[in-house]
């Protein structure tokens, strides 16, 4: 499972491509930064969205994240990869935002992609008629987001990065600035809490 996750990450992030785009941006070519935005928007959107459960907040925050990255790019010396660097900015800004927002959580959820109907896990869980599956889908989305919002910010972050985004433990540890052991223990605790929150969805 771990190897599979690592394999999912690497092809999306050839470091040389990022390095070249960063170097071009630093030498005054703003079009190169556009390419970095296009590349990282879906990934960072998923990170921020699963932390906020709100599309509008995610959009605003993501705009600010890229603006901050652009302003600070001259200070980027390549000690870490651009992937890690921009994720660190996104994580810090998202945590600050969620802390400031506090409990004023208003969900504004994105539509579930229709491709979910072909997902093996989803089909397994909803091995019944289509209307039941449709009803299950809406309810599932709501319950999942509610359960995630009940987790602490730190636990929600590792769950989002590991389970939703499929990042390996080492990468999460590097981005969050914690040890791999801490990542594993946070995941364990978060999974146990989520299991309690989602008891009714565990076995369909």
């Amino acid at each position: 499972m771990e190897d599979q996750k690592t394999a999912e990450i690497d092809p999306q992030n050839p470091p040389n491509e990022d390095e070249a785009l960063v170097a071009r941006t630093q030498s005054g070519d703003p079009v190169a930064f556009d390419a970095l935005i296009r590349k990282y928007t879906p990934r960072l959107y998923s990170l921020v969205y699963n932390m906020t459960s709100n599309h509008e907040d995610t959009n605003d925050l993501l705009q600010e994240i890229f603006a901050k990255a652009f302003r600070s790019l001259n200070g980027f010396r390549g000690k870490s990869s651009f992937y890690t660097w921009i994720h660190t900015i996104a994580v810090n800004m998202t945590i600050n935002f969620v802390k400031k927002r506090g409990r004023r959580t208003q969900m504004s959820l994105d539509d579930v992609d229709s491709n979910i109907q072909n997902d093996k896990d989803f089909l397994e869980m909803t091995a019944s008629s289509d209307p039941v599956r449709e009803a299950y889908l809406g309810e599932l989305q709501k319950k999942l987001n509610e359960a995630l919002q009940k987790l602490s910010i730190e636990h929600r972050m590792v769950v989002t990065m590991f389970d939703v985004q499929g990042m390996p433990h080492a990468e999460i540890a590097k981005i969050l600035g914690i040890s791999e052991g801490t990542v594993r223990s946070r995941l364990f605790y978060a999974h146990r809490q989520l299991q309690n929150f989602l008891q009714e969805f565990k076995k369909p």
């Binding site: 993501l62 660097w85 900015i89 579930v112 939703v164």
Partner: protein, 155 residues
């Protein structure tokens, strides 16, 4: 233990299907450019500088003990400086006075040649007005008249 959570993990993986759609990602870059232009107009320079500074320090991960260590070092230096001043308050003032008075009085010796006598040359480049002798009464020049006074009365 991980197997106990496999159902939860399967559910969480389904969250990948919650996306805003392709149109959103297409228009995101345009919105970014628009916001960037708007920001250029209204953001003061100090705020941009502050943002950059914050980002720089966010990137640098300093070990927790480093803060304590650097604080302790600064405190020790300050305490040492204070105690030194307390022990010798006159000395600190005297050093400043000596520096001021010593500068014009210094002279350097220049040897023109091996045979020539040594000549003392003042170190400063500007000339000081002749000072009155420290002892004795002031001298007055008597029997002298201004030129204009003498010219008026002589025919």
């Amino acid at each position: 233990m991980q197997d106990d959570f496999s159902d939860v993990q399967k559910l969480l993986r389904l969250k990948r299907y919650e996306t805003p759609g392709e149109e959103y990602f297409d228009s995101f870059l345009n919105e970014f450019h628009q916001r960037q232009r708007a920001e250029l107009i209204r953001t003061p320079l100090w705020q941009i500088a502050w943002d950059r500074l914050q980002t720089f320090f966010a990137e640098v991960r300093v070990p927790k003990m480093a803060y304590v260590g650097s604080f302790a070092a600064v405190t020790i230096c300050v305490l040492a400086a204070i105690s030194q001043v307390k022990d010798n308050p006159m000395k600190a003032g005297a050093i400043a006075d000596t520096k001021q008075s010593a500068a014009p009085a210094t002279e350097r010796l220049v040897a023109l040649s091996t045979d020539s006598p040594r000549i003392r040359i003042p170190a400063s480049d500007h000339f000081e007005p002749a000072s009155l002798p420290a002892t004795g009464s002031p001298r007055y020049v008597l029997e002298t008249r201004p030129v204009s006074f003498g010219a008026q009365n002589s025919f």
